[in-house]
Amino acid sequence: MTKPDAKLTDEQVQHVAKLSRLDLDPDQIHRFAQQLSDVLVHVAKLNELDVTNVEPMAHAMDVTNVMRDDEPQPALPVDDALANAPQRFDSFFQVPKVLGEGSGA
């Protein structure tokens, strides 16, 4: 297990911004590095506790998967689903080229 870092560098924050798909400028990166470091110092408090043999709890209630019969139900009409689209083409959401040259992939 990686040991939690007490302090985040600008480079680490830049990496997290990339994972988060957030285009941030260097000033923002630097400010977030400081602020998130402060928060991480605070959350390091959790290391005071012995959590050996404690099962992680992602959900407070005893929930199980809910299934229904596989029967067709009315769905959102295409025009309603596309009504908020920033750009549509025919019955599709339109985005810049995904594959090949100039796709950024």
């Binding site: 992680p56 920033p86 796709s103 992939a105």
Partner: protein, 490 residues
């Protein structure tokens, strides 16, 4: 009667008895909103024409139900198939939902008249309603102070009588904390009691919808209307709704009230501890037994919450990508650029900060150290409550450490803002219901300004799905006090 100076229940009964028309009531609230919303900024938008039409339908007996004609405000993170649903975010500024949230649909099916949508911290992330793309809401008790958050618009609207009842959402205290700072009742039910369908997701394992009202009985009535199973939310509990109002006036006999030393800290404002002491005395004089309980993991709630909630948020907010709805940047050079710039332009600072924290806590190499560890501590926090409720019916504690703070006072210090939720987050982590009640007042001065009276909240926490008993206990406190009857002068 003046329909804006009453309780939801009294107004409901007056409309039902045709002592006042629904149209008169709705008109009075719309006029009051016109008069005060410029100062308070509690509402994003109102639906005057729609509301008046609904009111006329009530008066013509075309619309009936337990809330017939009652003017209600809803938080602007609840989807409606009319108007816009913004979440106080630029990224959803023009978003028109194709469907309506179950809780809102249930209110309307019960005859309620939706007046409009209230301000919140962007995506419900915040404790002051200052993180709104459409400006902060101001506290009706002192307009230089915040109303709390994230349901700050709902709490301010309720406190200022700009609605007869309202609904908000509570992920870490977002109903209870603003209710406390604005001097109204705020009720977060058990996780799953109310369907989350149509509630814009922040942290799905913590989010819960609930009422903000003038009185406990009003909250009981609203919960009866909005709760119950929903096939469109598979985490919604299967329990059928109950008539919480029918039982609310029955005191609980043999009542045991738990008090934990971890909540009565020296760092609380002395007035807050005094309000809790007075509540203890009041319950004792009702014949309740006061039980000392131990919640040893209380202090770990904030770090646990800010890892769990941000991790879930980073995943939930991935959907805002500029593709299907919401803001899209100009001239994207490729798909990644479209995602990254649309999100950077559309999200406010706090949203970015939380997405980053959550993404970091879930990222390769840090997942176990942060996220999984937080989930383990979450279990310890829940165990504390399970054990405590074996010896008491409800836990009495403050809702907040202090009364409302001034606008701008904490906005440059995220961590100090996060500490606002120290007494509320644990209920969300454990899934238990909690209610904040008007618990008294304190007088403050700031730099020689005239003394200002500010409300304080006390909180009652109960075991999961024990809302009936929790509301009865809350009503016992309310019926022995007059704090809820005091209104701010506007």
């Amino acid at each position: 009667m003046n329909p804006t100076q009453t309780t939801l229940l009294e107004l409901r009964d007056a409309i039902a008895a045709k002592k006042i028309s629904a149209k008169q009531a709705v008109t009075a609230y719309l006029d009051r909103i016109d008069q005060h919303n410029n100062t308070l900024n509690a509402y994003h938008e109102t639906y005057a024409d729609r509301a008046l039409q609904r009111a006329q339908d009530v008066d013509a007996d075309k619309v009936t139900g337990p809330l017939a004609g009652v003017p209600i405000a809803i938080k602007d993170n609840l989807a409606t198939d009319w108007g816009v649903t913004t979440c106080s975010s630029k990224i959803l500024e023009n978003f028109r939902s194709p469907y309506t949230a179950t809780a809102v649909a249930k209110l309307e099916a019960a005859g309620a008249v939706i007046l409009g949508k209230t301000n919140l911290d962007e995506f419900a992330m915040g404790s002051s309603t200052e993180n709104s793309a459409f400006g902060p809401t101001r506290n009706p008790w002192d307009t230089h102070r915040v109303p709390g958050g994230s349901s700050g618009g709902a709490a301010a609207a309720m406190a200022a009588d700009l609605c007869a009842g309202s609904i908000g959402s509570d992920t870490g205290g977002s109903i209870r904390q603003p209710a406390a700072l604005c001097g109204v009742v705020g009720f977060k039910p058990t996780y799953g009691r109310v369907s989350r369908f149509g509630l814009v997701a922040f942290a799905s394992s913590l989010d819960q919808i609930g009422p903000l009202t003038r009185t406990v009985s009003d909250a009981a009535l609203m919960l009866s209307v909005i709760s119950g199973p929903d096939e469109r939310d598979s985490t919604c509990a299967s329990q059928q709704p109950r008539d919480y109002l029918a039982e609310v006036d029955q005191p609980v006999s043999g009542l045991r009230i738990g008090v934990a030393k971890q909540y009565i800290s020296d760092t609380n404002d002395p007035a807050v501890n005094q309000a809790v002491d007075e509540a203890i005395n009041m319950f004792r004089s009702c014949g309740a037994q006061i039980v000392e309980i131990d919640l040893p993991h209380t202090q770990y709630g904030i770090p646990t919450y800010y890892l769990v909630a941000t991790a879930e948020a980073s995943s939930n907010l991935a959907r805002y990508d500029g593709v299907r709805y919401g803001r899209r940047c100009d001239d994207p050079k490729d798909l990644i650029d479209l995602y990254s710039r649309s999100r950077a332009e559309g999200f406010g600072e706090e949203i970015k900060r939380r997405i980053m924290l959550g993404t970091y806590a879930l990222s390769s190499g840090y997942y176990d150290a942060y996220y999984v560890r937080a989930l383990k501590v979450r279990r310890l926090i829940k165990r504390d409550f399970d054990l405590a409720f074996s010896s008491c019916d409800a836990i009495l504690c403050p809702t907040t450490t202090a009364p409302a703070f001034r606008l701008g006072e904490k906005s440059d210090d995220p961590l100090s803002m996060y500490m606002n939720d120290v007494y509320t987050v644990n209920a969300n982590l454990a899934g238990i219901p909690g209610i904040s009640l008007p618990g008294g007042f304190t007088t403050v001065t700031h730099n020689g300004t005239p003394p200002q009276k500010l409300p304080l909240g006390i909180q009652l926490l109960g075991p999961v799905f024990e809302e009936t008993k929790l509301l009865r206990i809350a009503r016992m406190y309310e019926s022995a006090t007059t704090h809820h009857q005091v209104r701010p002068s506007l």
